[in-house]
């Protein structure tokens, strides 16, 4: 944007001074073609031969675009500035173009330049958009050359977004690893994983609640089913409910979302069935309170001091209410196990709960609790992911450090610059 201003000011100042200024020769052979790389149909590549005066008079090239056609309907050309590139530049990729436009939007934005009736007459919903592009060489003293203009062109959308090629590779590696280890586990290969403190506590907490004849409280976070943490919380709920069923403990699940209530009921019912106590399942212990975060926590905190549950589980997405819950739970002397992937709330759970599953451990928990080999397999897959991270960082850092050392010793050394470019490729192309 700064650049535009610069050029425009150049233009205006030029109008000021009287003596006729030498106008630079225009850029020639301007070609527009669809973006070379696979893209989502928003880019056009421009290429042109530099003006004859590129070395001498030209300061910059001003690139502008204009709508040419909606479908078969001509539009009076209204050029708008796209970008201004320095002299010596012979190519540019115009981004952020539209491939198609909805009739509704034409009405909203271009009613003044096209005759809507005839567009409506075709009763098409959308129209392909064609653009023309224009290059003007701007002289050092602000004089502008004649314009080189392209024929109308419409960007095309490919079936694959090439910009995400490397991302695809990484996703495939990671998902592949997870699936591979799951298959390995299915094949009966024993997988060794470390212990996570706090998971044993879950069973023992439920047990204690049963002995004391008090209830267990389970909070699956306060977000809806469209959050993976809630889904993970529901998975853990299944195991907790199974334990509760086998101990014959009372399990209460107030939810702050209707859909979570619906899902939790399915889950707990299934768990009681699996534990062989389908008749012990009471769906009225899983109920909706309110969507409002603080209305919900106001209810839960009151309920806690009145019913004094002996074991409280907070497993899901939590926000400010985390400490309210944990402190209240603490004041009634309940065993508290928390698990969340909300980095901001972890400190409070760590400070106020007996056990806390930190971030990734929380997602791992359901795998541990289920004890099913194939779920443990997925953890190995996650470790592969961590190895990718470690390697990526280490390689990148080493190369970058080496480059900076070399370039500091001998500026402009080819090896150093090569390293630097390699890192740039890693950061800008592979890791985007």
């Amino acid at each position: 944007m700064k650049l535009h201003l610069f050029a425009l000011s150049v233009v205006f100042t030029s109008l000021g001074d009287a003596p006729a200024t030498a106008t630079p020769a225009p850029a020639s052979n301007l070609i527009a073609q669809d973006h070379r790389k696979w893209d989502d149909g928003t880019r056009i590549d421009l290429a042109w031969d530099l003006s004859a005066d590129d070395e001498t008079l030209v300061a910059a090239y001003r690139i502008s675009k204009a709508l040419a056609r909606f479908g078969d309907f001509q539009v009076p050309l209204k050029f708008e500035l796209v970008e201004i590139v320095k002299a010596g530049t012979g190519e540019y990729t115009v981004a952020d173009l539209a491939r198609k436009i909805r009739l509704e939007n034409i009405k909203t934005k271009y009613a003044d330049i096209v005759d809507i009736e005839s567009l409506e007459a075709t009763n098409q919903k959308t129209f392909p958009v064609a653009y023309v592009f224009q290059i003007v060489a701007v002289g050092r003293d602000g004089a502008t050359s004649a314009a080189a203009t392209t024929p109308p062109i419409t960007p095309t959308m490919e079936w694959f977004d090439g910009g995400r090629f490397w991302f695809l590779i990484i996703v495939v590696i990671f998902c592949g690893a997870v699936i591979f280890f799951i298959q390995l586990a299915r094949g009966g290969r024993p997988l060794k994983v470390r212990k996570i403190a706090g998971l044993e506590a879950i069973d023992e907490a439920v047990g204690r609640a049963t002995e004391m004849g008090r209830s267990c409280l389970y909070i699956p976070g306060i977000l809806d089913m469209n959050d993976i943490q809630t889904i993970a919380g529901i998975n853990i709920l299944a195991r907790v409910a199974k334990t509760a069923a086998s101990y014959g403990a009372k399990l209460e699940v107030p939810t702050s979302r209707s859909l979570v209530m619906a899902t939790a009921r399915e889950t707990v019912q299934g768990a009681f069935l699996a534990a062989g106590h389908p008749d012990a399942y009471r769906k009225d212990l899983i109920y909706y309170v309110t969507d409002e975060q603080f209305g919900y926590v106001a209810y839960v905190q009151g309920m806690m001091v009145r019913e004094k549950p002996a074991a409280c589980f907070y497993m899901g997405a939590f926000f400010a209410e985390s400490l309210i819950l944990a402190e209240t739970g603490n004041s009634i002397g309940a065993i508290q196990v928390a698990g969340t992937a909300m980095p901001a709330q972890l400190p409070f759970f760590v400070a106020a709960c007996d056990y806390t599953l930190i971030g990734e451990e929380f997602f791992a928990a359901s795998a541990y609790l289920s004890g099913s080999a194939e779920e443990l397999g997925s953890l190995k897959g996650q470790d592969v992911g961590k190895i990718i991270v470690g390697l990526g960082i280490i390689i990148g850092v080493i190369m970058l450090s080496a480059a900076s050392v070399i370039l500091d010793g001998s500026p402009g050394s080819p090896f150093g610059t090569a390293l630097l470019n390699a890192v740039e490729y890693l950061k800008q192309v592979i890791l985007t």
């Binding site: 060794k192 212990k195 993976i228 399915e266 953890l379 960082i393 480059a403 890192v423 890693l426 985007t432």
Partner: protein, 339 residues
Amino acid sequence: MQGRTLVWTLIFVIAGVWLLLRATTGSGMGKAYVKRTDQQFVNVAEAGEAAEWIEVHTPAARAYDFQDLPRYPLEERVGWTEYDPAPPKDWAAAEKANPGQQTYVFSLWRSIGLWLAAMFTFGIFSFLYRDNPFYKISEAVVVGVSAAYWMVVAFHTTLLPNLFGKILPTWIQSWAMPGLKEERNLWYLVPLVLGVMLLWRLMPKGGWISRWPLAFFIGVFCGLRLMAYMHGDFLMQIRSAIVPLGVFGPDGFDFWESLRSVFLIGGLLVCLVYFFFSFEHKGFVGKTAKVGIWVLMITFGAGFGYTVMGRIALLAIRLEFIFDDWLWLIDPTGQRIGL
């Protein structure tokens, strides 16, 4: 116990008397004022054209002669009075200018609301002492109001415009959202059908069908989040973690900056080791994981320290409400100058 009840009764009595004095003497307290603005709209469209309404007090109205009653008959005009919140100082100023004016007026309902809000504030805080009827009342109100609040919002901001507005645009436009300019989009029948499936669980038979919409959206969001987090968090964090260990400033090797990036990368790597599931935390891995936990603890400490700030600010604003808006004890923003 007896003594405690006595103490509390005393406290309540004293507070009550003080409030009474405060409210009745001097400029009083806890009064809400409003500014009246009369709105009158006239349809200036020619007969047979789509209606075009002009508010008679706006500049646009100057173009018309609304005295011409045959052309703009009074009975075809629409109007009402709006009451916007106004700071007491405006009321005071207006009264000074001409006593008994009707532009700024005292609002009984909003004053009642103000007192109610103060009572609710105390009701919730009273829980800190112990559970009690005041808290239970506040709790019941907040649950009831908020549950309904979100349903109303969902109806007006989602169901009307995004469901019915897409399926039956003209109908919705005709009565509920005249501003709506949408075209029928039958794709939105899908969520309608899914919604009906979900509600089917209320039927005596075939409740299992309600699992389908749940299954559908859980699948959808697993797919979405998988990609979003791998792209947004996973890749981006690796990317921004790549910094040179040795930093060279204009004047050669910069020790402190270098140390900083060593800590940055080292810290990250040891934390990752802590999260590793494949190895027991023994031996070298154990030691590294230990350091990892230390870094995490520093992170948590920092998070805790930061949050304290925010939480105290929240208490501050509640007390400001009590002292400023309700009790009128302080006036930092000069709301009641000249009262």
